[in-house]
């Protein structure tokens, strides 16, 4: 016995930044960003905290599920960088939501984080440790990118997505790959002032080799989706939606063509939010849910890829 997703929610910051606004201080243009990435605008934190985004997304998911916060047996919070290094974001959210659950856990698995979290949640249900739980992904990429680097800062945005899970049979399978390298995509740590260790002297900004990440993303998505469908005796025609990590429209299009599936099976929100790391998949799932596009019994394939280089792919039945 695993879980069913019984409610979804999402939240994004108030401040909207268009490509034209970026072109005011970066050597770029709306035409360049739109055609090369599909991104038209993104949301960025101003006065809000990551915890605020996570809280609102979680409240929305709880309401959608008809579940009170006091019913939650666990909270898994995925983020690359919260409002604190410590304490964990999941414990701060637990208090903010007024839950009594003590099984709280932060996970940093970069962009496929939500899918990794669903797999951990599956283990919790299978171990009999939960009747209901919350998985929330909240990211502030605006804090991690170098806003003087036009090749990276235009790609990312801030946001949060959440899902309430209850005992059930919706989660069918998950597969993962881990390469274990950092060269093509990483955010270094800042230096402390230990008198014993030489400072690395790097700024804590995201660095990426776009071409290598693109090749990795497109080939991995196709391989992993093909593998998980085959493993579960399904054809590529059966899933109603492929909910892919929202990094670049060209990655999604390239994978879609290779899988030979129609455009409407590949929903997109990167045009409005950019790449919000682990929040992209639950935000998109919430959009589909709120738009009434998900029917009971629909098979969904979720697939994410990110720093590590890693992938996470799962099959859910709605």
């Amino acid at each position: 016995m695993s879980f069913h997703i019984i409610g979804t929610g999402s939240c994004h910051p108030e401040k909207r930044i268009t490509n034209d606004q970026l072109a005011e201080f970066l050597d770029t243009s709306d035409e360049w960003i739109s055609t090369r990435t599909g991104i038209k605008e993104r949301r960025v934190l101003t006065n809000e905290k990551v915890l605020d985004l996570a809280y609102e997304a979680s409240l929305a998911a709880l309401e959608n599920a008809g579940v009170g916060a006091e019913e939650l047996d666990f909270i898994i919070f995925t983020t690359m960088l919260g409002d604190f290094i410590t304490p964990s974001m999941s414990c701060l959210l637990s208090k903010r939501l007024g839950t009594v659950c003590t099984r709280v856990l932060d996970m940093n698995m970069a962009c496929p984080g939500f899918i990794y979290a669903l797999d951990v949640a599956d283990s919790m249900f299978k171990a009999g440790k939960a009747e209901k739980g919350l998985v929330v992904s909240a990211e502030a990429m605006s804090r991690i990118v170098d806003w003087t680097d036009r090749s990276t800062c235009v790609l990312f945005g801030d946001g949060a997505g959440a899902a309430v899970l209850a005992k059930g049979d919706g989660f069918k399978d998950a597969i993962f790959t881990v390469d274990g390298g950092y060269e093509n995509l990483y955010v270094p740590i800042w230096d402390g002032n230990s008198p014993y260790a030489a400072p690395a002297g790097q700024k804590a900004f995201l660095k990426m080799n776009g071409q290598e990440v693109y090749i990795f993303a497109v080939s991995s998505i196709v391989q992993q989706i093909t593998a998980i469908l085959e493993k579960n005796g399904m054809t590529a025609d059966e899933p109603s939606f492929y909910i892919l990590h929202q990094a670049n429209i060209r990655i999604i299009e390239s994978a879609r063509k290779k899988l030979n599936q129609p455009v409407d099976k590949f929903p997109v929100n990167l045009d409005r939010y950019g790449n919000t790391s682990s929040a992209t998949v639950p935000m998109l799932l919430d959009e589909l849910n709120r738009q009434g596009r998900l029917k009971k019994g629909d098979k969904l394939v979720l697939c994410g890829f990110g720093a590590g280089l890693i992938t996470g792919t799962c099959i859910l039945e709605w």
């Binding site: 090369r36 776009g210 071409q211 693109y214 090749i215 497109v218 670049n248 060209r250 390239s254």
Partner: protein, 74 residues
Amino acid sequence: MIVERIIQLLAEQYDMDPSTLSAESSFEDMSFDSLDVAEMVMTLEDEYNVHLEMSSDIKTIGDLAKYIEAQQKK
């Protein structure tokens, strides 16, 4: 011939007129950005079953065809 096959693939993938392409056609003239190049590398790797790494020395379709031939001999 690899040059002809590259032209055919580019024409199909990018909706280009093959008669406008030749071994001397440069990727810069085709307005290819780094992701277009990455997409092309992936297609050609599958087609020729070789591992390709783009470098700035490979500027034209002819350069690329020669590189693929060299990789095939390995």
